[in-house]
Symmetry: C2
Subunit: 307 residues, 2 copies
């Protein structure tokens, strides 16, 4: 794979940035990769594990001379961080981000983008429940989608170049409009996360009553919720606050449906329940056919599951 950027700067060194580093190294996609993280401890860890060619203590030193700057910070501070580095970004460079919300990020970041610098919002649909500089690995983006949201009027060349980088890291890339992105993600990710957080919170309250039994007997369903609900609290707080409208819209529909199913249970309407569950089962088949999961049964024991 050919080198795509001479110098890439990763701002914020968590799961996504560290995975990008290893994926770029795997593919030989960047000449030099610099890094910056706000906390001393993260910078120390990054240096210790060889994450980034150089880790700078000053954010502007990491950004200066970079051809691509990737903002890998929580959605709520994207605008602030962009304001901080605006003067150091070199003309002709591209700035992108990896946040889970796009309209709010574009609105907050764009005003700080200097003349002659390209901003192309981005969102790799990949992750695990772990976070921090040690959690990354080169394969995270393999066969996963990365959505690019170039603001209208963006020149085609920098978009094509950024697309090549993501493809080089293993992703499939699509371009999408910011509002559409935020609605689709509210359905596939943001609402499910809030629901999982809620259910785990309810169980925790009851868990104190039943003396740890909720954890002990978590195998049948609840365990998958805890995995989702173990994701980074700061990242998710920001996601909900900055994709407020779409998330609340989907949660409204969810509550409506849940009430209808609760009523069916209360009234003993087995036909309604059976029809509903049959329909949802078919969706699973679609996801397996779309290559976004495997058919191997998962009962939380990884390699132990029969293929």
């Amino acid at each position: 794979m050919a080198k795509i950027y001479d110098r890439v700067a990763l701002i914020g060194l968590g799961l996504i940035a560290s995975s990008m580093f290893w994926a770029m190294k795997r593919g030989g996609l960047a000449g030099e990769i610099t890094g910056y993280a706000r906390s001393d401890e993260t910078r120390r860890t990054a240096r210790e594990i060889g994450l980034c060619d150089v880790v700078y203590d000053d954010i502007n030193d990491a950004v200066r001379d970079a051809d691509l700057i990737v903002l890998c910070v929580p959605v709520g501070v994207m605008g602030e961080v962009m304001a901080q580095i605006a003067d150091a970004v070199k003309p002709g460079a591209t700035v992108t981000d990896v946040g889970s919300v796009k309209r709010d990020v574009i609105d907050k970041v764009m005003p700080h983008i200097p003349e002659g610098v390209h901003f192309i919002a981005g969102h790799p649909l990949a992750g695990t429940e772990h976070s921090g500089p040690r959690s990354g690995f080169a394969e995270l983006f393999d066969n996963r989608w990365c959505l690019l949201v170039p603001p209208s009027g963006t020149a085609p060349e920098p978009v094509a170049k950024l697309r090549s980088l993501w493809e080089g890291m293993g992703s499939n890339v699509e371009e999408m409009d910011a509002d559409h992105h935020d609605l689709v993600l509210a359905v596939t990710s943001h609402a499910p996360h809030l629901i999982a957080y809620t259910m785990v919170g309810v169980a925790d309250d009851l868990g104190r009553v039943t003396d740890g039994e909720v954890i002990k007997y978590s195998a049948a369903g609840f365990r998958d919720f805890t995995r989702i609900a173990a994701s980074d609290p700061t990242m998710w707080r920001d996601v909900f606050l900055s994709n407020k409208d779409a998330t609340l819209e989907i949660l409204g529909r969810f509550t409506e449906e849940l009430f209808a199913l609760q009523r069916a249970i209360r009234q003993g309407d087995g036909a309604h329940l059976h029809d509903y569950f049959t329909r949802t089962r078919a969706i699973r088949r679609g996801i397996i056919e779309a290559g976004q999961d495997t058919e191997a049964p998962d009962f939380g024991r990884g390699g132990n599951a029969r293929k």
Copy 2:
């Protein structure tokens, strides 16, 4: 491992019964294992794949002479099936079940248990999203809990024997009261399943609008819900209808919490969200420490995940 029962009859040949068969064979726990399923097709499949030593076309032929009869049918028909076999069960035999609800099953089955026959309700907390006679495997119960609910006054010997069988199949066994079981399971399994079904249904409605994008971009959270929501519709219809009170109680608490979080989002109360998500993250740690899941990040690609 020593033989525990001379003759075991499996009634209903789905995921649990077929896994029990392979697990009993693995451990040499039963002399002969007979089987019965209501549908011709299931019986044909069972014979084809060697599931059960003998598969009978008549349920009473499968039951006759069995020392242990295991009811592996949906919770809603347990009572009916017990009534049907009552005359064929031999004196001194033990009847058990594997249903996900215990109070309702005990209430429905007990009246049909003949004098001199022991009934010990049971529930292995194990499963996958697959169903049917081909879905079973010997390892399903390894290191999973099996809860036994002996009605008051049950003699200790048959309980000890049934416990040995489950332990021989790899399970950890605990005894529990029926109502307590139903509440704990409402939290750890029944409510999470209904919530997953609901969210998948909402996404399906929107998926038609957004032309398959919901499936295409399912990787970040939603995918885990579809796995849960792919479980057997008949089994789950019966679970909700027969554990109505506990399920509705937990769903009520869930809705309350969800509304509180929705309000925090609407009002921009980031501190409330961050505190909540930090608390739920800690629960995940408890589950890993309890040995009910591994720490390996799961992003839906099984063996591909870095350990």
